[in-house]
């Protein structure tokens, strides 16, 4: 019970962090058809911007300013980069963002150094909020949950209850028709791309001090975010939300469940040892392959349900 409760909380926090990163990407992906490789770079930039700003003006200023900077950068990238490349098709766009991710990583290395920077949790939030069976739950994690929860609410309201949201939704599903009705679809693209990057930046601001702020953070977060987006389904914020929480919980619980396929087989009366056929694989405990589970799920969902969990059209 103790382990279950603590793991549940941890899985929730990690899942919500994934959601913050993935929500922007899923909007960009579904709208523009671009798998934005530079998305995790915005996450990294958000953390580094926040670090630099917090040195001068403190964490709370950074919380607002860093995402805005990322958003402005996103708008510039879309307006002056992607829009030009767009004429040459999706593959060119994909390669463009891929190259951009490399460039951003190098620029970060050159500006802030190769090592991690001491971006710390603000003193006002650096205390244990409560403890579950002796394991402390830091206030900062609760703060992360709060921010990401608010963000989910805000995006959802913006998409469903505002005029801009309606236009975005229309451009998502029927770009030609939206354009024919006189809406400036390219501008909507810029807006979505910029907000996506800003959201990733926000995730970086609150994720950078929760994890570590180093030049490798984009590379480590990149793949799992793609999994969430594809798994959740294109254009579906809810799908993305569910997928994020699912991935967070799966990775957390995979660690604490010390079972292997052999244990399952033992229940039905089959004994497997390391010397049996496939023994090495079957006796592999779950924690050792836990980090791979999301990718296994990715393969499975593309196989059985290519549109993803809640997607409205095929990937």
């Amino acid at each position: 019970m103790e382990v279950f409760l603590v793991s549940l909380l941890n899985g929730l926090v990690y899942g919500m962090l994934l959601f913050m990163l993935a929500s922007g990407l899923t909007l960009i992906f579904s709208m523009m058809g671009v798998l934005n490789f530079a998305h995790a770079s915005a996450f990294m930039l958000g953390a580094y911007f926040a670090y630099s700003i917090s040195l001068i003006a403190g964490f709370w200023v950074a919380l607002f300013d860093a995402p805005i900077l990322c958003g402005l950068l996103g708008a510039a990238i879309e307006r002056f980069g992607l829009r030009r490349v767009h004429r040459n098709g999706h593959v060119a766009e994909l390669l463009f963002t891929f190259g951009l991710a490399m460039v951003i990583e190098k620029v970060v290395q050159m500006s802030w150094g190769l090592l991690a920077v001491p971006y710390r949790i603000p003193a006002g939030l650096d205390f244990p909020l409560f403890s579950v069976y002796g394991t402390q739950f830091p206030a900062y994690r609760a703060f992360m949950l709060l921010i990401s929860g608010l963000m989910f609410l805000a995006i959802w309201l913006a998409l469903t209850r505002t005029r801009v949201g309606l236009v975005i939704q229309a451009s998502l599903t029927h770009p030609e028709m939206a354009r024919a009705l006189g809406h400036d679809v390219p501008k909507v693209f810029t807006l979505v791309f910029a907000s996506g990057m800003a959201l990733a930046g926000l995730a970086g601001v609150i994720g950078g001090n929760y994890q570590t702020t180093s030049p490798s953070m984009a590379v480590t977060m990149g793949p799992i975010v793609f999994v969430v987006v594809v798994f959740g389904g294109l254009g579906s914020l809810l799908g993305c939300f569910i997928a994020s929480l699912l991935m967070g919980l799966i990775q957390t619980f995979a660690v604490v469940l010390d079972y292997s396929a052999a244990d399952l087989l033992a229940n039905v009366g089959l004994t497997v040892t390391r010397s049996s056929p496939f023994g090495e694989l079957l006796t592999m405990p779950l924690p050792r392959i836990g980090a791979l589970l999301p990718y296994i799920l990715l393969v499975l969902i593309l196989w059985f349900r290519p549109r993803g969990l809640m997607g409205t059209r095929d990937t």
């Binding site: 382990v3 090592l115 402390q136």
Partner: protein, 417 residues
């Protein structure tokens, strides 16, 4: 514009002069140095290079060897064995007597194999491989070579240091290691020495994690806590150790962390004030070691590095490189030449006191250095802190060379003298 041309010309002249300087008797004693100087691990080579150049200046001020000065010639290997072999090729083409490499046992294995072949085929143009930090134990066991000299402890020895430094009141430990060759050998060796040296210690958990894949270690900490362990032993490096420690501090679990690599550049920065007194690391030396031992000269020598390199945030952790240069100096002076074969024979079994006045020895049987190693505790209130964090490495235990003489399986093949 003119000045640019002039600068370009000067640069060109410099390149040419380097290229045409004969590597023969009257020049410097050239040591090729190959490590990652670009790419993800550039930091490693970069900081090593700074430490090397400080030490080479020192040894040259002490007269170099046989009236000649040492010179380090860097080659970037981008952490790739193939590039390290290119560096070796350049080194042998220029008749350099030594090649130095510190990072990556896979690269070390490739170098050993290539050097064995090269030296057998070219008796007039041999080269010695100075290993300053590739620590896979087999490099001085089944893969051992006459031309390879390792000046750092191997994984098994480091594991023994860690086990010997474990305080008596710790009887329940949890192991977490990375799921690849290095992590698995740490896991195996720590278990072996726990059985030998500390049979009273119980291993309450033993885990392998995928290398560099985990962003949140909280679930692991939950497990460690549930197991009732008092100490967490880990060979993890990079993000895998930093994030693990962070998760532990966040959960407020009462644990001590015994690590292999928390002291590497960037470690103290990511650990931060929350780690005060909780983190231990197996390390060659700490800047506080001479302070605690009352060695004024060694203290000044180490701080001299920071004076020579202001603004460098990392610790001067590789004072052991000085021991390497002193061994080479003595061997060259003894043989009166830079003939690699003679030097290699002279290095075998050589004994010296190091900077901290401990005994060191280059063991003849396997060319594994025997030296002291320490376990540091990251804590406040030390004379020297790390990376401006206010936390420094306090000496928790020093294990001397005589306690680390592990048996070897090396069957050394020696050339004719």
């Amino acid at each position: 514009m003119k000045s640019i041309y002039r600068a370009a010309l000067a640069a060109l002249a410099m390149i040419l002069s380097v290229a045409v300087t004969p590597a023969g008797a009257q020049g410097t004693i050239k040591m090729a140095y190959t490590d990652p100087l670009s790419g993800a691990f550039a930091q490693v080579g970069d900081s090593n290079l700074k430490m090397w150049s400080y030490l080479i200046d020192y040894i040259n001020a002490k007269g170099g060897a046989a009236g000649r000065k040492f010179e380090l010639v860097p080659f970037d290997n981008k952490s790739q064995p193939a590039d390290a072999l290119l560096a070796l090729k350049s080194a042998t083409d220029q008749n350099m007597p030594f090649i130095v490499q510190c990072s990556g046992s896979n690269i070390a294995a490739a170098l050993i194999e290539a050097i064995d072949k090269h030296n057998a085929r070219n008796p007039d143009n041999r080269i010695i491989y100075i290993n300053c930090g590739a620590v896979a134990t087999e490099l001085t066991n089944e893969k051992c070579s006459f031309w390879h000299f390792r000046f750092d402890l191997n994984v098994a020895q480091k594991a023994e240091v860690l086990v010997r430094a474990l305080p008596k009141n710790i009887t329940k430990v949890y192991l977490i290691n990375q799921d690849y060759l290095f992590g698995q050998s740490v896991q195996r060796d720590v278990k072996t020495f726990l059985k030998q040296v500390r049979p009273d210690v119980q291993i309450v958990g033993d885990e392998l994690i995928p290398l560099g894949k985990i962003q949140d270690f909280s679930p692991y900490i939950t497990k460690v806590k549930a197991s009732g362990a008092q100490a967490l032993l880990s060979g993890n490096w990079g993000p895998d150790i930093n994030l693990l420690l962070k998760a532990g501090f966040d959960a407020g679990v009462d644990l001590r962390y015994y690590t292999f690599y928390a002291h590497l550049a960037g470690g103290p920065t990511t650990i931060g004030p929350a780690g005060d007194g909780k983190v231990y690391s197996v390390m060659p030396n700490s800047e506080n070691l001479p302070v605690e031992k009352g060695l004024k000269e060694a203290d000044e020598f180490i701080q001299g590095f920071h004076k020579a390199n202001p603004g460098m945030k990392f610790d001067f952790s590789s004072v052991g490189f000085r021991t390497i240069l002193e061994y080479l100096q003595e061997a060259i002076n003894k043989t009166g030449s830079v003939d690699p074969t003679k030097i290699a024979f002279a290095l075998e079994g050589m004994k010296r006191k190091d900077l901290f006045n401990y005994d060191t020895m280059m063991r003849k049987e396997d060319h594994q250095v025997m030296m002291e190693y320490m376990v540091g505790q990251l804590s406040k209130g030390n004379k020297y802190d790390s990376e401006g964090t206010g936390l420094g490495w306090k000496v928790s235990a020093v294990v001397e060379a005589k306690d680390l003489m592990q048996p070897t399986t090396c069957m050394m093949k020696r050339p004719a003298k």
